[in-house]
């Protein structure tokens, strides 16, 4: 667990990093609305506020506050715990400037604990409403910074993405119309073709009749031996064809039988659509972060759901871009998949707490090594230093995880024959390697030469 925590911290740091450089396209509320549309919306908001009878003395966003700077600050400092329109670890912040006095907010943001200690009733109330989660103090933020952040919080929610606009195929109406028109065209073509045949037959018939009436003698073709007969009568040909057919049948039968039980490319539909592409690829999460037992055990381990929650406690939805991409490219609603995780682990997003109603996720196992073959992940990952991708393929590009290698014994053995054992900096090998080097007069030994082909090393 300790290792997990460390990795988690690194990961978080990395996520934060990404925020700053705007590379973080997958985490919510990160898409930058263009400045212009933003200003336009602010304008709209202003109008709506001014039109309301509600006489507000509170701050209204003006052009003086820099929402762009605010956004940057928000993403650096606040986004880990706060969202604009949604409860996260901390409360939703949209329009927070209206709820509290500005001076009070300055104090609260710079050091909320101090405020609570001073006995401020509002602060205590707020603290208790939020499960007594301590908010990080930001003493370095200036009033102007805070104003900017608050200005940013007035960003209106982005309009729902029109999927049909992005991917017309998903919107059934147009698609089905297209289908019908195609069929009609095809039908017409077939009809025309049929008519042509009929015309041809009719012309032929007429011509024959015409020739008959004219007394023209049509030449009758002499009947030759049909090819099949000639073939049957030629015994050599029959024999060689038979041999050829048998051999090729054997070849294909062998080929077919050799793939029985080999599930290369097996990519079952999982109960939760988990994208290795997003996690390992785009976000560059280390494989060992989730599959931590690969370093210690024979199994790589399917991560328990609490590992997922290390990150997904704060990441409850993907960014709009990712969501759109998922729906258009893979037909997946990523947010709904995250919700499946929450349902299984019993996480209530609204109250930001565990309900205790847990249910197991029954993943479908992809790599099924038979019982009689022993394979140890830690041996390959730690001792040999083999990259995960060597056997599992480009996982970071797989939207749906699939079996990359055939996992046959031949495949194992070939690798053992080609791979040199990593003996450097491992005291275990020191004596053995020295003796072997002396005996065989070479420095490098393959796994096979070190006994990696012996039956009992994997079968017991």
């Amino acid at each position: 667990m300790l290792e997990n925590t460390t990795i988690y911290n690194q990961l978080r740091a990395k996520l934060m990093d990404n925020n700053i450089t705007d590379r973080m396209e997958k985490v919510p509320c990160r898409n930058l609305p263009s400045k212009w549309s933003f200003i336009a919306l602010v304008f709209l908001l202003t109008i709506s506020f001014s039109q309301s009878t509600f006489a507000s003395t509170s701050f209204l966003p003006t052009q003086t506050a820099d929402t762009v700077a605010g956004e940057k600050l928000f993403k650096t400092n606040c986004a880990a715990c706060h969202k604009l329109g949604k409860q996260a670890t901390g409360p939703a912040l949209r329009g927070v400037g209206d709820k509290y006095d500005r001076e009070w907010l300055y104090k609260w943001i710079r050091n909320s604990q101090e405020l609570i200690k001073s006995g401020d009733a509002l602060a205590i109330k707020l603290f208790e409403e939020n499960n007594k989660a301590v908010m990080t103090a930001f003493p370095t933020l200036t009033n102007e910074d805070i104003d900017n952040i608050i200005a940013y919080t007035y960003t209106p929610p982005p309009p729902p993405v029109d999927i049909c606009a992005v991917n017309p195929e998903l919107c059934s109406d147009e698609g089905s119309e297209g289908g019908i028109s195609n069929n009609i065209i095809l039908g017409i073509l077939v009809l025309m073709f049929l008519m042509l045949i009929v015309v041809l037959v009719l012309v032929n018939k007429t011509l024959r009749r015409f020739a008959e009436s004219q007394g023209v003698q049509l030449e009758e073709k002499e009947k030759a031996t049909p090819i099949w007969r000639a073939f049957v009568e030629n015994q050599f040909l029959v024999l060689s064809t038979a041999i050829f057919l048998l051999l090729s049948a054997g070849y294909f039968a062998y080929g077919w039988m050799m793939q029985v039980g080999v599930d290369q490319g097996y990519a079952p539909v999982q109960p939760i659509h988990y994208s290795h592409r997003i996690h390992a690829g785009v976000n560059e999460i280390d494989c060992n972060y989730c599959h931590s037992s690969a370093r210690r055990s024979k199994t790589s381990g399917i991560p328990s759901l609490n590992v997922c929650m290390n990150c997904h406690k704060t990441i409850s939805e993907v960014s709009a871009d990712t969501q759109t991409e998922g729906q258009s490219k893979y037909g997946v609603d990523y947010n709904a998949e995250i919700q499946k995780l929450y349902d299984a682990v019993g996480w209530d997003v609204a109250t930001q707490s565990y309900t205790g109603e847990e249910s197991a996720v029954k993943w479908i196992r992809i790599h099924n090594l038979p019982d009689f073959a022993y394979f140890n992940h830690s041996q390959h990952v730690i001792v040999a230093g083999v990259e995960c991708q060597t056997c599992h393929g480009p996982v970071e590009e797989m939207e749906i995880m699939e079996q990359f290698a055939p996992l046959t014994m031949g495949w194992c053995i070939n690798c053992h024959r080609d791979t040199n054992v990593n003996v450097t900096d491992n005291e275990y090998y020191e004596k053995i390697h020295e003796e072997l080097a002396k005996k065989y007069g070479k420095e490098k030994f393959t796994a096979a030469e070190m006994g990696g082909l012996e039956c009992g090393k994997c079968h017991y």
């Binding site: 055990s297 590992v307 275990y428 090998y429 009992g456 017991y460």
Partner: protein
């Protein structure tokens, strides 16, 4: 070919009027062929449109379709934890220290768990006085996964909730205030439980607490209490002994709780020309007798005389040879002074006191009375009082905990009387004989699911911790007591408090104690056993014992078997199938009689065509008790006019049919004494089929087990080839010259170079091996060895990867056998004398030899395998690829050691073999690192390659060389006596390297064959030099 000869088919044809002949002439078959039965009624047959051809087509297509469908792989689910416990890494075993204290076995153990389920019991090396991790303790993990276990409490026979049970108990206890209620428990030896019981008694003053051990050590405890004031059992450290004289005490077996073999074995390995000398006077052939240097068969009543003679009396009244042995023993004892010890299993207090007095008198270093053992603390008189109280109605209510009196009380009327009790509550893991009759049943967890503390020996405190969440809706007895006496919320906290206030008061750490499982402290704690202090009960027990009244008939010695012990684990197939170390018989108990008595009574043992052992049946009568149809086994070494019978068998309740074996001998356990008089055997018709795994009991003078005497051993004499005379290297002839078989010239094959990397060897010291069988069960647990059942065992289809062969000498000693064989000349003599040598002597020498795959460097099995399924590894192991094996069994035929086992059937998930591998619960004990073999493949000892591979991997991963003696196999790890040692002979630091080069004692089994095994043995040395 005219002939007048007429051939008769039967006598019947002589009778011309015979109706049968007439009928037979008309009809070929006497009875009509029941065609209708299988063709059904005509209508259906005709209505069917399926012709025979169609039917065949359907069969063909379905078979084809089925085989095609089989090509699809199944969908396998992988279900991770929702919230993973920090300490669990899937695929990595966790070990927890715990303690077993089931009332019969007490030991500190390590529990190996995988993915949160215990799969194996191991020894806890931190425990110095940890009791014995014997075969039963190793097997106890399987008893947890017993499908016969109670899954919830019961009130009046119906499943109930714990609340209902508690309410009912409270109601009853209040109703019955003032009436005699007995709390009959096993020995807990638990400081916390003692306190709780005291509190319980304070709350309900009408409750009496009585400790009941099914197999009692009461006489010894009474003697100890009278002499030393506190109740306990003297502890012995036999490693310090020079002379051990045992009179009827099977101290290598279960005498006073057992666990003495480790110390004993230490003193048995010759060191500086010295080893301990062991005299054994006993009636049954026991493990102790088998290991003794001098064993004298003596009936129980004569044992008293022997003891008297040893402790100062005269040898009058004893047979000459016994008297002679007694005098020798006395001589030796005198010489040994305070390094000598007398122990006795005689079932009365004066005898026990006499032994204590002797040891005390010579100031024996072997005996420890300052820190006595606190296990088996029951008092016979008190227990008898309870038994009679229930029968005569003075006891009104009974709470039983961990004991099964309805099964084990020697009183006919008890079961019915128990049934009539106004209040009966049984704390039991299973609905055993007692629980089945109890009004209330409290389902208790297994010790691997429980908290507890145990004081095995004064000052040695142990903790029991759960290693899995309770499988069923169970509650510990102690948790109930905590609740009934308002002592907080759980027994766990209660133990913690008790420890914090007493044992750990000197600043010890609870976490450390829990981690180690054992904690040594000088803090004194009163135990429940101390409450037995009324002189009345002690005196009563003094006068008890059937031996005082002389009766006609034979003398019976009841004993507990290595496998089943007191019978608690009767539903454990591993233990049922564990061969008895002496008789090598499984799945049974039987009357053991001497060959001479058998002849007089007309009792026989014989082998039938398939090799199975059969025996006569007898009715065992003693007073008004008769046990019917008990099989007879003729036991070499059984004292004449005595018989033996094992306790613990004949269980019926909560024991599945296959395991309801043997007869219940407890009705003969009168006065809770294992020695009984006036027993008569009456032969009855019929025969019994034993499942005995060893058909041939003698070595015929061969040197399968090499042995010598200490005297010869100390001479260091060598033969002309340079080997020691008792351990010669076999010579073979090459070019008419004798060369040693171990020479490379004697080989047909090129040998591999094994000097680089690891080269594993296993050493078995025949001096240290007592034959206890712990390794066999450990091997079962580690390697998923299947249980095959009694009928298969009988056919010699046992699957044990490791067997412990037992040999009897046919002369008085094995040396006599060799001499006899060497002197045989001519055909006539060889026929008769070899025949004689097949029969064991009346009081034979006994030797044990564990045999597993010898992992030959020149393995005969490997060369004959047509598919190369068995092959050799560079590290010395003979590999067996099960998935490659096609089951020709050539390898087994070609193996000189007969250690290969064939899977005649599918033993897992097969209703024909309804043992632990046939139910989900029982399969939880399987080791996930080892394959469960399927039908039709050969299997054998792998030298625990999964363990050696793990050790190597651990070292590689940590980037360090393998530590000294780090390599272990299941059997070497389980061996209490250190007889089995395992290691890497390419590592000069490993203990095995030294053993391998010990020319004095190291030898290979059947060395002359030239197989060059990687398993070697150490010559057995007997201390039979006469002084």
């Amino acid at each position: 070919m005219a002939s007048n000869k007429k051939y008769w088919k039967s006598v019947e044809e002589l009778n011309e009027n015979s109706s049968i002949v007439e009928t037979l002439q008309q009809n070929e078959f006497v009875e009509p062929i029941p065609t209708d039965d299988f063709l059904g009624d005509k209508e259906t047959l005709e209505a069917s449109s399926t012709t025979r051809r169609d039917f065949l087509k359907y069969v063909g297509f379905t078979t084809a379709a089925a085989s095609l469908a089989a090509c699809e792989g199944p969908v396998i689910k992988s279900i991770p934890y929702v919230v993973a416990p920090d300490e669990i890494v899937p695929g990595v075993a966790n070990y927890y220290a715990s303690t077993i204290a089931d009332g019969y076995d007490f030991a500190n153990v390590l529990v190996k768990t995988r993915e949160g389920r215990p799969i194996k019991i191991e020894r806890n090396d931190l425990a110095k006085h940890g009791g014995s991790v014997n075969a039963r303790v190793h097997a106890s993990v399987l008893s947890m996964y017993d499908k016969e276990r109670l899954q919830s409490p019961k009130v009046n026979g119906a499943d109930a909730s714990w609340d209902e049970l508690h309410t009912e108990v409270a109601k009853k206890m209040n109703e019955m205030a003032g009436q005699d209620i007995v709390l009959l428990t096993q020995t807990f030896a638990s400081p916390s439980t003692s306190k709780l019981i005291a509190d319980f008694k304070t709350k309900y003053p009408n409750v009496r607490h009585v400790i009941y051990d099914a197999v009692s050590s009461s006489h010894a405890a009474d003697a100890f209490q009278t002499k030393y004031g506190t109740r306990g059992l003297a502890d012995y450290d036999f490693s310090k002994a020079e002379v051990i004289v045992s009179v009827g005490a099977d101290f290598i077996g279960d005498w006073q709780g057992g666990g003495y073999e480790a110390g004993y074995a230490k003193g048995r390995i010759p060191k500086d020309g010295k080893m301990s000398k062991h005299f054994q006077f006993e009636a049954n052939m026991t493990l102790s007798g088998a290991n003794a240097d001098v064993r004298v068969p003596v009936t129980p009543s004569d044992q008293e005389k022997v003891l008297a003679a040893l402790t100062g009396g005269s040898t009058s009244g004893l047979a000459d040879h016994v008297a002679e042995a007694v005098n020798k023993a006395k001589d030796q004892l005198r010489k040994a002074g305070n390094k000598g010890v007398i122990i006795t299993g005689i079932q009365n207090v004066p005898a026990q006191t006499a032994a204590l007095n002797y040891n005390e008198g010579v100031g024996s270093e072997v005996m420890d009375t300052d820190r006595p053992r606190l296990t088996a603390m029951g008092n016979n008189a008190e227990v008898a009082n309870v038994m009679n109280g229930v029968v005569n109605g003075s006891v009104k209510g009974m709470i039983t905990v961990g004991v099964n009196p309805v099964y084990s009380f020697p009183h006919k009327g008890f079961a019915e009387a128990y049934n009539n009790l106004a209040f009966s509550l049984a704390f039991a893991m299973k609905e055993d004989e007692t629980a089945a009759k109890a009004k209330l049943i409290a389902a208790t967890p297994h010790y691997l699911e429980s908290w507890g503390d145990v004081q095995l020996k004064k000052g040695t405190y142990s903790l029991m911790q759960p290693t899995i969440r309770p499988l069923f809706d169970t509650q510990q007895f102690q948790d109930c007591l905590v609740q009934w006496t308002d002592n907080g919320d759980s027994y766990y906290n209660y133990i913690k408090d008790t420890w914090a206030n007493t044992i750990l008061a000197d600043g010890g750490s609870w976490s450390q104690a829990l981690h180690d499982g054992v904690y040594e402290s000088d803090v004194e704690i009163t135990t429940d056993a101390d409450t037995i202090d009324t002189t009345e009960t002690l005196e009563t027990s003094t006068s008890s014992g059937a031996l005082n009244s002389v009766q006609e008939g034979m003398e019976l010695t009841l004993y507990a078997k290595t496998g089943l012990g007191d019978g608690q684990q009767a539903n454990n197939p591993w233990l049922q199938e564990l061969p008895d170390p002496i008789t090598r018989t499984t799945w049974d108990n039987y009357v053991t009689v001497s060959a001479a008595d058998a002849k007089t009574l007309g009792l026989e043992n014989w082998n039938v065509a398939n090799g199975g052992l059969n025996g006569s049946l007898v009715n065992v009568k003693m007073g008004d008790v008769t046990i019917e149809k008990v099989p007879v086994l003729i036991q070499p070494g059984q004292a004449q006019n005595s018989v033996g019978l094992a306790l613990g068998y004949g269980r019926k309740a909560a024991v599945q049919t296959e395991m309801q074996t043997g007869v219940n001998a407890y009705p003969l356990y009168l006065d809770f004494s294992t020695s009984q008089k006036g027993v008569r055997l009456e032969k009855v018709s019929g025969e019994h089929e034993f499942a005995c795994v060893q058909l041939h009991n003698t070595m015929m003078g061969r040197d399968i087990i090499r042995e010598t005497t200490l005297e010869i051993f100390n001479t260091n004499k060598k033969d002309k080839h340079g080997g020691y005379v008792w351990n010669p290297v076999p010579q073979v002839s090459k070019d008419h010259k004798e060369i040693p078989v171990s020479s490379p010239d004697a080989d047909l094959w090129e040998a591999f170079d094994r000097s680089v990397g690891h080269h594993f060897n296993l050493s078995i010291d025949l001096n240290a091996c007592t034959g206890c069988g712990a390794c066999v069960i450990a091997c079962h647990a580690e390697n998923n060895v299947p249980v095959v059942g009694k009928t298969e065992m009988r056919r010699s289809r046992d699957m044990h990867w490791l067997r412990i062969d037992r040999y009897y000498s046919s002369e008085d000693s094995f040396a006599g056998d060799s001499e006899k064989k060497d002197n045989i000349s001519g055909l006539g003599s060889s026929l008769s004398e070899f025949n004689e040598m097949e029969t064991a002597s009346a009081n034979p020498q006994v030797a044990f030899q564990p045999v597993m795959c010898q992992h030959c460097n020149q393995a005969p099995c490997e060369t004959v395998c047509p598919v190369a399924a068995t092959s050799h590894g560079r590290q010395g192991q003979n590999h067996m690829a099960y998935n490659r094996c096609v089951g020709t069994r050539y390898c087994a035929n070609n193996c000189p050691y007969k250690v290969r086992r064939f899977n005649w059937f599918l033993y897992a998930e097969n209703d024909e073999f309804n043992y632990n591998m046939n139910n989900d619960l029982g399969r939880m004990v399987l080791n996930p690192d080892v394959v469960v073999r399927s039908r039709g493949v050969m299997e054998k000892c792998s030298m625990c390659i999964q363990m050696t591979q793990k050790t190597i991997l651990d070292a590689k991963r940590d980037g360090r060389p393998v530590k000294k003696d780090e390599f272990k196999t299941a059997c070497s790890a389980a061996c209490e006596t250190g007889a089995i040692k395992f290691g890497d002979i390419n590592n000069s630091e490993d203990e095995i390297t030294e053993l391998k080069h010990d020319k004095k004692r190291m030898y290979h089994l059947l060395e002359a064959v030239g197989t060059e095994p990687n398993v070697f043995y150490q010559v057995k040395v007997r201390n039979t030099n006469e002084a």
